[in-house]
């Protein structure tokens, strides 16, 4: 998110770079390139790439039909439906309320705004296990919120609704923190121009503001969705028998069924990589939007 504002290379910067490039054939002014890049690649390989490769190596022990059979088992399909469905709904709810929170934080002044602003990051900072047991007890039938829901016939703990609640908590900061900087940078003159041309506030929001923040909103949505797909700690306590895919992988591991666990992990990894790629494209799109609005 932070890189959104920093990728623009000014003319000045470009001149320095080209000047340095022509020079660097002979001497590099700054030292340590080989050392730092070498260490970066070595450490990345050791900690991330080689262990990740192990997942694909382990799946290689299964034949294609075996692999396919494992990933379309009924319990696997049920877990995909729940994981994707709850993640999507949670990200959607966060998109709506996150946008309102970001809007309120950028545009209005009210008592305690700074504390509220700081508190938005709580789901990033609060360990998932703590969030998990808290939500589970809070929404249980005699918890603070659960006992309010029970007369309405709503069962939140040990249900799919609980999964959705946990995933909403986890994804909350993503939308706010991606939309907030874009809203701050919006040029008020655009809104004033629209107003002077006779647009009302509602039209200005949908026709002027919303198109400019929609790439950021979509990026935030994708980030929250991606985070929710892999979430484990905050969900297991509240989910009960409603099993999301990471819980199913854990079950297979507890039964020492590494082949099945790995096959499910491959499915999740491929989905995550596709999402990562999508998010990168979205961020590039957001950047482009920012540069044109600045010009």
């Amino acid at each position: 998110m932070a890189e959104l504002s920093t990728r623009f290379t000014s003319l000045e910067f470009a001149i320095i770079v080209t000047a340095q490039q022509t020079r660097s054939k002979k001497i590099r002014v700054l030292p340590g390139f080989r050392l730092t890049l070498g260490f970066t690649i070595f450490y990345l390989g050791l900690i991330v790439l080689i262990p990740l490769a192990a997942v694909f190596w382990k799946t290689g022990e299964l034949t294609w039909p075996e692999f396919w059979h494992t990933i379309i088992l009924p319990q696997a399909l049920a877990s995909y439906r729940l994981t994707f469905g709850a993640s999507f709904l949670a990200a959607l709810v966060n998109a709506v309320f996150g946008l309102i929170v970001a809007w309120v934080l950028v545009r209005y002044n009210f008592f305690g705004k700074k504390i509220v602003d700081a508190l938005v990051d709580l789901p990033f900072a609060l360990p998932t296990a703590v969030a998990g047991i808290t939500l589970a007890i809070l929404y249980s039938h005699n918890g603070w919120i659960g006992q309010l829901l029970e007369p309405l016939g709503i069962k939140a703990a040990n249900s799919r609704l609980g999964v959705f609640v946990a995933l909403t908590f986890i994804g909350l900061p993503f939308i706010v923190r991606t939309v907030q900087p874009v809203l701050e940078d919006l040029d008020p003159e655009l809104e004033e121009a629209a107003a002077s041309l006779g647009a009302n506030r509602w039209q200005i929001f949908w026709r002027v503001i919303f198109p400019m923040i929609s790439p950021a909103l979509l990026t935030g949505f994708a980030l929250a969705f991606a985070r929710a797909l892999g979430e484990y700690g905050s969900v297991i306590f509240i989910a009960g028998n409603a099993k999301i895919t990471p819980m199913l992988i854990m079950d297979k591991l507890d039964q020492f069924d590494y082949a099945q666990a790995t096959a499910l992990a491959v499915v999740m990894l491929i989905v995550s990589f596709v999402l990562l790629l999508t998010i990168n494209v979205l961020q590039w799109w957001t950047n482009r939007y920012n540069t044109t609005s600045l010009a």
């Binding site: 450490y43 938005v120 900072a125 998990g132 808290t134």
Partner: protein
């Protein structure tokens, strides 16, 4: 905000009350919705953690924390963070130096790869180390291999019965993996925004590489570095899923604080679980406090350093 509008001599009611801001009613409604949403999802759970932690009184609270298993969990959490934070900090600085101060091909690919651990589910983060070091993984195969590449290593591993999975090294490795990008992610955009002219000037004036780093670069990035380190630390101490896979859940031996919370919760010792949880919730509040303070410092120092 409205200064530009007045130069156009807009009718006042259009410029101010209706079109560049919302009516007081809508404003209050939006603030209300935001506050209710945030209270329900953030404030209530946070208050609830501390309320539950002290539900059985302060004596029980300290009884839980004084338990030997709780102490061992706290120690193990400190060990895991003690390895992963400095290592990822060194990596973050090295990666940011290479990426921000030099031009090379494949930089965007490298940036994406550094972010990779963030998009991997915690459970899978643990699983990959089981597949490398577990009995059925690469290391297990290596121990049983008939023609090992390094026979002395194979002998040593078998004689010492060296364990990584279901032991402390596995927990440290899984923690390093999940906290891998934190420092690098904070420093790379910051150092890219700062450019390289200050360091180049220092070099031209005769400073050595290390002097340049310690006297020019480090003072410029210290707040970003601190921010990255506290985020990395918060995640390292709070990681649950990845550590859960590699830990083996041996009480008093391979349980970190989050795993000890789970064990207490499964024992239906709810007040005990929340007493342990309050430690991590307190850590989260300290993290948020430092974050806000660092952002304030950055704002005071001026916008030239880029946003953190």
């Amino acid at each position: 905000m409205t200064s530009a509008a007045t130069t156009f001599q807009l009718p006042h009611h259009v410029a101010k009350s209706r079109s560049t801001t919302e009516s007081p009613f809508v404003r209050r409604l939006l603030i209300g919705i935001a506050l209710v949403f945030l209270s329900l999802f953030l404030v209530v759970p946070l208050v609830f953690v501390f309320a539950q932690a002290f539900a059985k009184g302060i004596g029980f609270y300290f009884h839980t924390l004084g338990d030997p298993n709780a102490w061992s969990a706290i120690k193990l959490t400190l060990i895991a963070a003690g390895f992963s934070v400095p290592l990822n900090c060194v990596f973050g600085v090295a990666a940011a130096w290479a990426i921000a101060k030099f031009d090379f091909r494949g930089k965007n690919i490298l940036l994406t790869l550094i972010d990779l651990p963030f998009s991997v589910s915690p459970v899978i983060s643990g699983l990959i180390y089981v597949l490398v070091f577990g009995a059925q993984g690469w290391l297990g195969h290596y121990r049983d291999a008939e023609h090992a590449w390094f026979p002395w290593l194979q002998n040593w591993l078998n004689e010492e019965n060296f364990k990584i999975i279901f032991a402390v090294p596995g927990i440290v490795l899984a923690t390093i993996f999940v906290t891998f990008p934190f420092v690098a992610r904070e420093l790379i955009p910051l150092m890219q925004a700062q450019g390289r002219s200050e360091e180049e000037a220092a070099r031209v004036l005769g400073a050595s590489g290390w002097q340049t780093f310690w006297r020019v670069t480090l003072p410029n990035i210290k707040w970003g570095l601190l921010y990255g380190v506290i985020l990395c630390n918060a995640r390292a101490m709070g990681e649950f899923g990845a550590v859960s896979v590699v830990s083996g859940h041996i009480r008093g031996e391979t349980n970190t604080i989050p795993l000890h919370i789970e064990a207490l919760y499964d024992d239906l010792n709810i007040a005990g679980a929340f007493a342990m949880a309050s430690l991590l919730a307190f850590l989260a509040l300290v993290t948020l406090g430092i974050k806000t303070w660092v952002e304030h410092k950055n704002a005071v120092q001026g916008g030239t350093e880029g946003k953190v």
